[in-house]
Symmetry: D2
Subunit: 304 residues, 4 copies
């Protein structure tokens, strides 16, 4: 297995030069473009890691499915899906157009920014600290890593460059989708984007989803019906504007982040964490996407 | 099994009254709203049918995945996906907006009208008759029913009321997506929508997809990689603007048509055909959707 | 003249019942729907007023051309039109769509909210108080009324219900159109909307524009080239989504506000202020529009 | 006067090199980019022409206000404005988006393609020949030139490259805006675009509008109220996406065409025809626009 991973890693390094590290948030731009790491954890808890696996990076959009889990746990599916839709969109993840043109106005799904901000608002807590602590607790439990925390520099950087998200949040408060203190919700959202992890953490979290929400020794962390909802969203909307293509080419439920991480869930089999910060034009890790396509082909991991 | 199907049928009849038979094509409006039929064929070729299973109806959008298969066989994936995208869309199936706003202009996927018209143009043939005969041959082989043909009245009715499709087709010729004689391509498209089938035909076709493109006795009709592509599209874009919701609630690759039919593929297990012409507001058979959700829950058919 | 005005007023009262007082800002909803007042001031300074002319109301969008004047005085046309366009739009005054879809992103004109917020940001001042004081000074001078001030209740009400404007402002800061402290610019914008006037004030201000920026006794308040720019905008974009229709039916440069006021400029002849808070569906005073159409017909005031 | 025109012509030749001859219709691409001609006819019928004034060119969009006149004469304003709106748009002249997004669907004004096609459908006639003959008769009478006719090569070229217009026409028939035989209406529309004129013809037609629809010797060709409507549209929507800017900078009611012609109406004073086929990015004659701005400044022609 390790050998195979090393081969896959080696043959996909070449993609990095066609990608670009995200730079719209200054702290993101500091990432080393050459990094590429893969971590796999199977259903028996055995882990294999190759490449730059110890590099820490922030979750960014990878936090979206996890925030959705916490919101579903806290507010229930009825309330969550009264506010956020279930449909994929052909628009970019930070588009505001449909919030105006769709009637009734409702973000199309929880994997685009507008939907994710709404999801975060549905995590219980009297303020952003309480919300983020609930989410952090979930993340730490799923990852089996108590040391996971917030990258403070990234959080501050997000906060300072978040006018597009702010615009969406205020628009949604105007239409009644978002309630309460917008800046407070955004604050929790920026913190969740700045949760710092490694490939191995991501693989462990993905494994928990692959194992229907159970730990390796069988304790339930996330109820099975919530796991099903979340992995379905990962297929239909997990890879930004390239979700459809990734479903066809790799067929693995996955969620990417603009930091260059990808969390991939192979139901009943394994959790995968990939990290490589050079992104393609849709915002997905360019080498990461190819690594997962190769892995899917070699190990026949497609759910389709 | 038959008993269970009858129960499911009985408990979902109540939905019919909340739906409406499509009326934008006059010939469609003649359907009997009360009809509801289910046909299931398992991987061993055993069939169970309940309700109004002998009623004939036209394929409408159910023909889209089949035309995609024929186009992939005839023109290859490179050419097909140079012209049509792989991404789901948040817009209605007959929306023209994205053809103007997306650069480069390209229909988002082959399950919306613009994409399907393009797909049909990629079926080989010197005219609409040759194209439709190639497609009909595929459909007949997959269904194991040589008698499948075109409903002429429906075809004429489609043709007369197809200005929206015509608008999209001319727009796409303007942007270079569609080539050749627009009216001739549309003619083939209208015929394909008017292919007449029963629930059992649909179940048999679905079974062929569920069986990785093989007949029950193991002959390959559709190559496995094409089957995978098509069933993936059925998940991400098969149920119009409710594809995401259906993936979450039923989790079965499916394609609906405005005639009220739904073709559902349970990989490795069975093919399902449902028919009930009263539609919900998104254009899916209202009782049909609920039947499939129940079936999925009772038999644990979700791929997620 | 007074008689004619009274006739026009009498015959247009009937429209009021087809309109509705704006209610999206609570303080606006308190207006008395039955009010209807007309004030005309001619180039010799003679004034005629009929109806509810002493009722005070807030300027709302009527402040937009005045803020544009101050921005042009303060920042010059090059800077102003680098940030704001000159083109009318078919979209509603509070639409955010074009800010995303137009490249480069730039509000289409200074008479829609996005453009007006930008205009306000181009009025000099170290904070919102300084900006609004500059604008108030201009308004007072044009109106010849030192007592014009801010309606504090309305200002607070605007501020509390301004999430849509906030969304646009943050979006524009994201795209680089708006600079500096968004909340501070918005604060000035909310105050300018809450400037309190009567029909007579509006007529006097309009007269100043009708007189090419001069007072009746010939002192220049606004340079002629700025007057020309502003009155042109009033024709192409002054009456929200009904500007084209109003240009055809009345042909008078005019600017309306959702408080129910309309400021109309008849170049070389007169300034007109109309007030009646019941609005048509586009946000213009329903009786006010008809009064101006009648006035234009009776006195042949159209510039076309 | 002639001297002044020659100066204006000389100093604006330099703009030509920044423009580009339209090439989306092959026959248009044959125009000589260096051509620049100006023709002015005053209210007394005196004409001055400078530059390439004898060059023939096709009307293209300049035919839109004339078709509007004929439609208003034939079908009346109520019927015309039931089908076409009065509002300017921020979208390009060939945009189809608003036909889908606006409810009820209605082209925004008669100066964009969708609106103009509708206008042509409202000219009486049992077929395209009858419609175009009515329009030609009007054009010839207004121009005082019986020899004006259709450029057949251009007409055929329009017809062959008109898929975008075809798309809009079929879309509008789908929504009920356009009735009857779409290809027949389009045929008339393509012919009207291909009406061949010179600068002097344009100046004469413009003069008729400038003279409130009367010939120089006082015969009424177009009723005054229709003239008013048409010149108003020329201000709010006559110069494509640059109408607002042109209103501010030149302030003359004008209509441009992609052939490089501009028809400008100075009410009560003169008619102007300008021709220079190199276009700016919005589709207006680049030298033509500057010539008119200079003329307006030198002779103080702005209506504002």
């Amino acid at each position: 297995m390790k050998e195979m991973l090393q081969k896959i890693l080696a043959q996909n390094r070449c993609w990095i030069k066609y990608g670009k590290v995200a730079n719209y948030i200054p702290a993101l731009a500091k990432a080393e473009p050459k990094h590429l790491g893969i971590s796999i954890m199977n259903i028996k808890g055995q882990a294999v890691t190759v490449g730059d696996c110890c590099v820490k990076f922030t979750m960014q959009s990878i936090s979206k499915p996890l925030a959705l889990i916490q919101a579903l746990l806290d507010s229930g599916p009825v309330e969550v899906f009264r506010k956020v839709g279930m449909e994929p969109t052909g628009d970019p993840f930070n588009s505001i157009v449909k919030l105006e043109t769709l009637k009734p106005s409702k973000p199309l799904n929880p994997m685009i920014n507008a939907g994710a901000i709404t999801t975060t608002s549905l995590i219980k807590g009297k303020d952003s600290i309480e919300r983020i602590e609930r989410l952090l607790k979930l993340v730490r439990t799923m990852a089996g890593n108590k040391n996971i925390g917030i990258n403070r520099e990234m959080y501050m950087s997000e906060k300072e460059t978040a006018d597009r998200n702010r615009a969406m949040a205020y628009f949604m408060r105007d239409t009644g989708v978002l309630e309460g203190d917008v800046e407070e919700v955004l604050d929790a959202y920026f913190m969740q984007c700045a949760i710092e992890v490694s490939c191995s953490d991501i693989a462990a979290i993905a494994l928990c989803l692959a194992n229907r929400g159970l730990t390796i020794d069988g304790r339930e962390i996330v109820p099975g019906d919530i796991v099903r909802v979340v992995t379905t969203f990962m297929v239909t909307c997990g890879m930004y504007n390239a979700s459809g293509e990734f479903a066809i080419k790799a067929g693995i439920p996955a969620k990417s982040g603009v930091s260059g991480g990808i969390m991939a869930v192979v139901p009943g089999k394994m959790g995968i964490g990939v990290y490589s910060p050079a992104l393609d034009e849709r915002g997905n890790s360019i080498a990461g996407v190819h690594v997962l396509e190769d892995l899917s082909a070699w190990l026949d991991l497609s759910i389709f």
